[in-house]
């Protein structure tokens, strides 16, 4: 009996972790396959695009198709694409004629900087707001109204408002560009505010539930202050649903980054994606989409595993 329990204690996490990793690989393979065949089924002549301004004759077409491997059967192309992908090769940009990894890599740092700052800012704001307002009627109503307003306001409009107030009316932050820290403030705040509107109500709800539970009374009777109870005990109980939603929000940041980079004229993956979409540069579009899907799937897996660490009771439930 005891040995059985011990085996479960060790095997449980191993099983749930390996199941998660298995489905991660499956979903990634699915996204690659789906995008690859969607591209080749989509209307539009890739060879014509590659020829660009040149003469469109059958001879030229044959040469170009052979050069880019487009004359081979679709399944062979697919196998080649998968094989190269495993080596971290996303193909060559049709427009820039450079490796897609290079095109994305040159802009990656700027977007990562934006996304990481926004995530930290969103977490900080969400925890601060909920810890201070949970269980307090008037404050909850006020904060709730603010959060609903944030959720109803798209990022580009928040960004424009922030620009108008803090760059044009009050010249505190630069209007556009990247580089120093001050140029990061408004874009990351814009992204973070969008996430706070969705996250704060969920965390507050969980915190209020946690504060109603019997353990809260026990902790209080030990003489722990209200703030100590909320921060050290309440947040941990409240964090699981919020964490799931936060994983979703972090995955969404790349989509939001496209918008925010456009509003603030910041270089980054979003600008790469927009340029690729307007010029039909398919390998680059696929590269960005796969990168986003990869981040999304990895983040949600990490969140799942993190949930097991925060609430060990979930291990038994998962296996």
């Amino acid at each position: 009996m005891i040995r059985g329990l011990a085996a479960e204690a060790i095997l449980g996490p191993v099983v749930s972790v390996s199941r998660r990793l298995g489905s991660l690989v499956l979903v990634l393979w699915g996204t690659v396959t789906l995008t690859f065949f969607a591209v080749h089924a989509a209307p539009g002549d890739i060879v014509r695009l590659l020829i660009g301004q040149g003469h469109d004759t059958p001879e030229v077409r044959a040469v170009i198709a052979a050069e880019w491997g487009l004359d081979r059967p679709l399944l062979v192309q697919y196998a080649g694409y998968l094989g190269r992908l495993l080596h971290g090769d996303l193909g060559t940009s049709y427009v820039l004629k450079r490796p897609v990894t290079e095109v994305i890599g040159a802009q990656l740092a700027s977007t990562v900087e934006l996304a990481v700052t926004a995530t930290a800012l969103a977490a900080l704001l969400t925890i601060l707001i909920t810890t201070l307002t949970a269980g307090r009627r008037l404050l909850t109503r006020l904060a709730g109204a603010g959060e609903l307003l944030l959720a109803s306001t798209p990022e580009f409009w928040v960004g424009i408002l922030l620009l108008f107030v803090f760059s044009f009316t009050l010249p505190w932050f630069p209007v556009a560009g990247a580089g120093d820290l001050s140029a990061l403030v408004l874009p990351s705040l814009t992204l973070a505010l969008g996430a706070v509107g969705g996250l704060a109500p969920v965390l507050r709800d969980g915190l209020e539930r946690a504060l109603e539970q019997p353990f809260a009374l026990t902790v209080r009777s030990r003489g722990v202050s209200d703030l100590g109870l909320r921060v050290r005990h309440g947040l941990r109980h409240a964090s699981i649903p919020t964490l799931n939603l936060a994983g979703f929000a972090v995955g969404n940041l790349l989509g939001g980054a496209v918008i925010v980079e456009q509003v603030f004229g910041r270089p980054g993956i979003g600008q790469v994606a927009l340029r690729a979409i307007s010029s039909k540069d398919i390998p680059t579009i696929l590269g960005v989409a796969l990168l986003a899907a990869f981040v999304f799937v990895v983040v949600s897996t990490v969140v799942d595993l993190l949930s097991l660490v925060i609430d060990p009771r979930l291990v038994g439930a998962a296996s």
Binding site: T31, P43, S152, E155, A276, V295
Partner: protein, 294 residues
């Protein structure tokens, strides 16, 4: 299914809150009335923008460009001298119709998919669920952006792209609910009584499986409104000169320093519309959740 039933909580904590909500629903709710009135007005503007008596949203008058709000132009004029009020009012049509159509696409494709996955044998269910996983691995607007990259901008493609990205949300909920419902007594009774499978599904499974769809659709409507505006903002939705709110904000951003009104008023219109939709959705959700669970 989503939350622990209040009665299961220790010491009956939390029951009081649910009770108060129920009482609250019976009272006349001023927020709900204001929301409904605002949405009704919006629908009127969508159906018949001419009723407001505003100017032509496309009529340019360069001599009156970038004029601040005045009696002649209540919300000012834009960089081409077009009336901002007229453009905001005519823009409602794009936002509302595109959001409605996209949500309809999501429901029409998502509900049957969810029902099928919920009723199907385990391997088909597995395949469909994985497919939904893959579809929702593209975060946020990115799937819509990729779809538009291949189909090109325009309102039809915008509707399709936003609709397809909302399919997993509807399908997942309907699938989960179908799985709950198919195990219920009345379904078994129906089968035992010899009703054809088709009839059992249509009369006894479907109505319960789609109970959450109106709430999801309301929230989805708000999301689609935001999505359509965002895609138009980055130039993948409706292109200028159409008075789409997102496109107007995109143009207005370049004149923010000299003419804030070009951006601020379409932005306010967008926020108010989505706020009204979300408020309605939140009330509907509360009503749904406070009902007895299955």
């Amino acid at each position: 299914m989503t939350a622990v039933a209040p009665d299961d909580r220790p010491n009956g904590v939390g029951q009081r809150r649910v009770g108060q909500l129920r009482v609250g629903q019976l009272r006349v709710d001023p927020v709900l009335i204001a929301t409904a009135a605002g949405l009704a007005l919006t629908l009127l503007i969508v159906v018949w923008p001419g009723a407001t008596g505003v100017a032509d949203p496309l009529a340019a008058d360069p001599s009156r460009a970038l004029e601040p709000p005045s009696a002649a132009h209540l919300l000012g004029t834009d960089q081409l001298g077009r009336d901002v009020l007229a453009r905001v009012i005519h823009g409602a049509r794009y936002s509302v119709l595109i959001a409605l159509a996209a949500t309809a696409v999501g429901i029409v494709a998502g509900v049957p998919l969810g029902l099928l996955a919920g009723l199907a044998s385990s391997w088909l269910d597995e395949i469909l669920t994985r497919f939904l996983d893959i579809l929702s691995a593209f975060p946020g607007l990115l799937l819509a952006m990729v779809l538009i990259a291949f189909t090109g901008p325009g309102s039809g493609n915008l509707v399709l792209a936003l609709g397809v990205s909302s399919v997993p949300r509807f399908a997942r909920v309907v699938r989960a609910q179908t799985k709950v419902v198919r195990g219920q007594g009345w379904v078994e009774h129906g089968v035992t009584l010899g009703l054809p499978r088709r009839v059992v599904v249509a009369r006894h499974v479907l109505p319960h499986a789609i109970a959450a769809v109106p709430v999801l659709a309301t929230v989805g409507l708000g999301g689609a409104t935001l999505g359509a505006a965002a895609l138009s903002f980055i130039g993948l939705g409706l292109a200028p000169p159409s008075p789409e709110w997102g496109a107007m904000l995109s143009e207005g951003r370049n004149y923010l320093r000299v003419a804030w009104w070009i951006s601020v008023f379409p932005g306010l219109a967008l926020t108010s519309l989505v706020l009204a939709i979300f408020t309605l959705g939140r009330r509907a959700q509360r009503r749904l959740e406070s009902r007895e669970p299955l």
